[in-house]
C-alpha cells in the first residue's frame, strides 16, 4: 500500500496581464492561432489583428455548458443528463473609449467607422451587416513567462455595446462581453474555440 502523489499546481496559475486581440484569422482543423515569439498574433498569418488595448482589471474567461438532469419515478437522484447548451465568452472592461477603431470594433452590426477627413475620426451609429471576429486572450504563463496561454473564440461578437462615464473623478471604461458563436460546419468537438498553452 502507498499514498498517491500530490499535485498542487501552484505553477499552473493565471497571474499575469493578458492581451485581448480581435479580427484574427480562423485556425483550421487541429491547428491553433499562430503566435510570434513575443506572444502577439503572427502578423503574416493574422494580417488584420486588432489589439483591444488596456483593461480596467483584466479579462474573465467563461466556458460553460448547461446540463439538463433527467429523473425517473423509481429513483430519487438524476439518472442521466444531456448537454443542451454551450457558452464561451471573454468579458472585462476596456479603457480606450476615445479610440474610434476600438469603439467601432465593440459595436458589430451597429458602428461604422466613417472618417473622411484628416481632421476627425468618427463612428456612425446605425444598422449594418454583422461581422463576426475571431478573438484571442493571450497571457504569459507563470510557469514560463516566455510561453503563453491562449483562449481563442473562433467566431464572436461583443454584445455589451459601449457604455462609459466621462468624469474627472473616475477613469472612463466600457464593458465588453465577447460571446462565441459556433461555426457549426466545423468538427463537432471544435466549433466554438479552444484554450491551449505553449509548452515548447
Amino acid at each position: 500500500m502507498a499514498g498517491s502523489a500530490t499535485s498542487w499546481k501552484t505553477n499552473a496559475i493565471a497571474l499575469n496581464a493578458g492581451q485581448l486581440w480581435g479580427s484574427l484569422a480562423i485556425p483550421g482543423a487541429a491547428a491553433r492561432v499562430t503566435l510570434f515569439s513575443d506572444g502577439t498574433p503572427d502578423a503574416t498569418a493574422n494580417p488584420t489583428a486588432f489589439h483591444y488595448g488596456a483593461t480596467k482589471a483584466g479579462s474573465k474567461v467563461s466556458i460553460k455548458s448547461q446540463q439538463t438532469k433527467f429523473y425517473v419515478d423509481e429513483f430519487r437522484g438524476p439518472i442521466v443528463t444531456n448537454i443542451d447548451q454551450i457558452d464561451m465568452s471573454l468579458a472585462g472592461e476596456v479603457v480606450g473609449v476615445t479610440d474610434m477603431d476600438l469603439v467601432t470594433a465593440l459595436l458589430p452590426g451597429v458602428g461604422t467607422y466613417a472618417t473622411t477627413a484628416s481632421s476627425f475620426k468618427e463612428v456612425r451609429i446605425g444598422i449594418k451587416a454583422i461581422t463576426y471576429q475571431s478573438f484571442a486572450l493571450i497571457f504569459p504563463l507563470i510557469e514560463d513567462v516566455t510561453k503563453y496561454g491562449i483562449v481563442n473564440i473562433y467566431s464572436g461578437l461583443n454584445d455589451a455595446g459601449v457604455e462609459f462615464t466621462v468624469s474627472r473623478k473616475e477613469l472612463g471604461f466600457t464593458p465588453f462581453s465577447i460571446i462565441g458563436y459556433e461555426i457549426t460546419t466545423r468538427a463537432v468537438t471544435d466549433t466554438l474555440g479552444n484554450y491551449w498553452k505553449q509548452i515548447a
Binding site: 479580427s23 483550421g28 482543423a29 503572427d42 494580417p47 476600438l102
Partner: protein, 99 residues
C-alpha cells in the same frame, strides 16, 4: 500564410469566381468550416481570413499531405514555409479594425 478573398484574388489573376472557389476549397480541406453567408459559416469576404500555418504544419495529423499540397497551391504559398515557421510580431504592425 493567410488566405483571404483579397490575397486569393491576387493569386488567381483577379478572377473573383476562382478566388471564392479557392476560399471554399481551402476552408473545406483545412477543416475551418463551410464558407457562406449563413449562420455557422465563414463569410467569404472576411478580411481576417484563414490562418494557414497550423494547417500546413507537417506535424498536423488532421490534414492529409495531399490536401496540404492542394491548400498551398490554391493559396499560392509554399508548404515548406510552414515548417519551423517564425513569423513576425503584431505589436508594431497592428492594422485597423475590419469592422
Amino acid at each position: 500564410m493567410n488566405a483571404n478573398f483579397d490575397s486569393l484574388m491576387k493569386v488567381h489573376g483577379g478572377d473573383a469566381k476562382k478566388a471564392e472557389a479557392a476560399f471554399r476549397e481551402i476552408a473545406d480541406k483545412g477543416g475551418y468550416g463551410a464558407v457562406g453567408t449563413g449562420e455557422g459559416q465563414i463569410h467569404p469576404l472576411t478580411a481576417a481570413g484563414l490562418d494557414l500555418v497550423g494547417v500546413l504544419d507537417p506535424n498536423n495529423p488532421a490534414i492529409s499531405s495531399k490536401d496540404k499540397d492542394r491548400i498551398a497551391e490554391l493559396a499560392g504559398v509554399n508548404r515548406k514555409d510552414a515548417e519551423n515557421y517564425v513569423g513576425e510580431s503584431s505589436a508594431s504592425k497592428m492594422k485597423k479594425s475590419i469592422q
